[in-house]
């Protein structure tokens, strides 16, 4: 599903780039609180694991095969914010090092395969685990979350394709084909995710972000062999992060929908504003997302590029600011 260069038109690519940049920016803030100084190593490890299992193709139906997307798995293991970062890094590495997925399509890829799968997967996981928190319940939740996350991602792809695809194919046909295959892939994804989460849960429950906080009391032995029991200091458990995350998610989705449909009507072909592009590029590199943003805004092809870019960046800043503000407020109350 890695979208190459030239697959979507400029506006879609730019808008998706803006969404991806916004999502990643929000998650960069959130992730630090999820895993503290373990963030980078643990996220790196999960990213590597997802990368490795993404290379295992499993047969789905006549002639097609699918592979793990991994968004739900990442979210459950390291939390949603870090999960998005993992996926973004996997896609970035694939695009730059392996030429898998176009550089100018990075925004689309991160939005579809990273943000959407993590959002949907984590949302469903939290909903199910709210009902049951047993080990079986968590495994089942992992299965469901992964199962649904794949067709959801395919659906968003189809919508994007209908709006900004460069190939003249009936959008409904695309949706039907993508949906059918991806429900099957979802089953595979669900099974692998559930087995992995289940086995981690069995021996290292503390590693499953979605299932934290169960420790037994300790025993002390004296010189005469007598023993006393002492309590364990309460671990700092991170819970109830759902709300800001969902808020962020809703915001991101709104931008995606809004931006894309707003510009969908204007013709995306032709290059008429090189100067404008240049101005825009210069502006973007001063911007604190740096090259990241640059990569996402890469596809510069339509008249509205400058406008789209500025609106995009403005929205990104707005969302990032709002979420950061909300998060900071929560932190103050907690600490």
């Amino acid at each position: 599903m890695h979208v190459p260069d030239g697959f979507f038109n400029a506006v879609t690519s730019i808008s998706a780039g803006a969404v991806a940049a916004a999502g990643v920016a929000v998650c960069l803030r959130g992730a630090r609180r999820e895993l503290d100084d373990r963030t980078a190593p643990m996220a790196g490890l999960v990213a590597a694991f997802i990368f490795a299992v993404q290379m295992l193709n499993f047969p789905v139906a006549a002639g097609t095969s699918g592979h793990l997307l991994g968004g739900a798995l990442a979210a459950i293991l390291v939390g949603p914010y870090t999960g998005v970062l993992c996926m973004a890094v996997v896609l970035l590495v694939q695009a730059v090092f392996f030429a898998d997925g176009g550089l100018t399509a990075l925004g689309v890829n991160i939005s579809i395969m990273g943000i959407v799968t993590v959002l949907v997967g984590w949302g469903i996981f939290r909903l199910v685990t709210r009902v049951t928190r047993s080990r079986g319940g968590i495994t089942a939740a992992a299965f469901l979350a992964a199962l649904v996350s794949v067709p959801a991602s395919a659906l968003v792809f189809s919508v994007l394709f209908a709006i900004g695809g460069t190939a003249p194919i009936d959008p409904m046909a695309v949706a039907a084909a993508m949906g059918g295959v991806h429900v099957l892939i979802g089953v595979g994804e669900g099974a692998i995710t559930a087995v992995t989460v289940g086995s981690v849960l069995a021996v290292r429950p503390d590693l499953v972000y979605g299932a934290r906080g169960l420790a037994r009391p300790l025993i002390l032995r004296g010189a005469e062999g007598e023993s006393t029991t002492v309590g364990v200091p309460e671990p700092v458990v991170a819970t109830r992060r759902l709300k800001p995350f969902l808020l962020g998610g809703v915001g991101v989705t709104l931008v995606l929908a809004g931006l894309v449909s707003f510009f969908a009507s204007s013709s995306p072909d032709g290059l008429e504003a090189v100067a404008e592009n240049k101005g825009f590029l210069g502006q973007a590199s001063d911007h604190h997302f740096g090259a990241w943003a640059l990569a996402d805004y890469g596809e510069v092809g339509g008249i509205p590029v400058g406008v789209a870019g500025i609106i995009g960046v403005g929205l990104v800043l707005l969302i990032a600011g709002a979420v950061a503000y909300a998060a900071r407020g929560r932190n103050k109350i907690k600490v």
Binding site: V203, R216, L218, I219, L220, R221
Partner: protein, 247 residues
């Protein structure tokens, strides 16, 4: 300063995340400049104890202090600069793409750069006899070579307190002796976990026996090793053909 112990552990208890409790209230203190051996059967909790000394594991109960500073989240940086830890498994210790980078990692984090960094790295590698391997990837070395590089990574940081988890295992006999010479030449506090009782006797005046997650004995190495009954109770024994040499 004499009253401050280099290492002080009080009532330390710890359980692994899967529920296995490994330490059940350990008490020990080591004075500045002492060389102490930590003996005990497999699974006694030696590695678990050692991992607490620079805050890799966090005490479930009890406390650990290094040179008077308690091991806590906010003191970790300082603690880790003082305590150098050689892991039991060298694969856990080496992570950079080349041996040189790996040895340079610690000093570079401490702010060394350029020629001085080079000199420190060379010196450490030379001490363990691995200078020619400087540009090879660590995971392409033999096991014993990896252990030597692991020791070098810690020597390069010039810590005040050196904690070694079975440093002599997998070393060839000459390297084993050379390591003993290095340790003797350094004026630092040493805590060495080992199953090699003659090595403990050779290097350390004092020994501790950890067994079942608690300290079972503490005294001069020579006396502990002479107490056959005590040793046998904790699965320790002198090897065939070895006799405690007269002083």
């Amino acid at each position: 300063m004499t009253s401050v112990h280099s290492l002080e552990v009080k009532q330390l208890a710890y359980a692994y995340p899967d529920g296995t409790q490994a330490l059940f209230g350990v008490d020990l203190s080591i004075a500045r400049g002492e060389r102490v051996a930590l003996l005990g059967p497999n699974g006694a909790g030696k590695t678990t104890l050692v991992m607490h000394l620079n805050g890799i594991l966090t005490a479930g109960h009890g406390s650990v202090a290094v040179a008077g500073t308690p091991v806590r989240k906010d003191t970790l940086k300082e603690i880790r600069q003082r305590v150098g830890l050689v892991f039991q498994d060298p694969d856990d210790q080496l992570f950079m793409p080349t041996v040189r980078d790996d040895v340079a990692f610690g000093p570079a984090n401490a702010g060394l750069r350029g020629e001085e960094l080079d000199r420190v790295v060379k010196d450490a590698l030379d001490r363990v006899g691995m200078l020619e391997a400087a540009d090879r990837p660590p995971h392409h070395l033999s096991f014993g070579q990896r252990r030597r590089v692991a020791v070098a990574t810690v020597l390069a940081m010039a810590p005040e307190i050196l904690v070694l988890d079975e440093p002599s295992s997998n070393l060839d006999p000459a390297a084993r002796r050379e390591l003993a010479e290095i340790l003797r030449s350094l004026e630092v506090t040493v805590l060495m976990v080992t199953h090699d009782l003659p090595y403990a006797l050779e290097l350390c005046e004092r020994s501790l026996i950890l067994s079942g997650g608690v300290i079972a004995a503490d005294g001069p190495t020579r006396e502990l090793l002479a107490d056959t009954e005590l040793l046998a109770a904790h699965r320790l024994e002198l090897p065939y053909g070895f006799a405690i040499p007269a002083v």
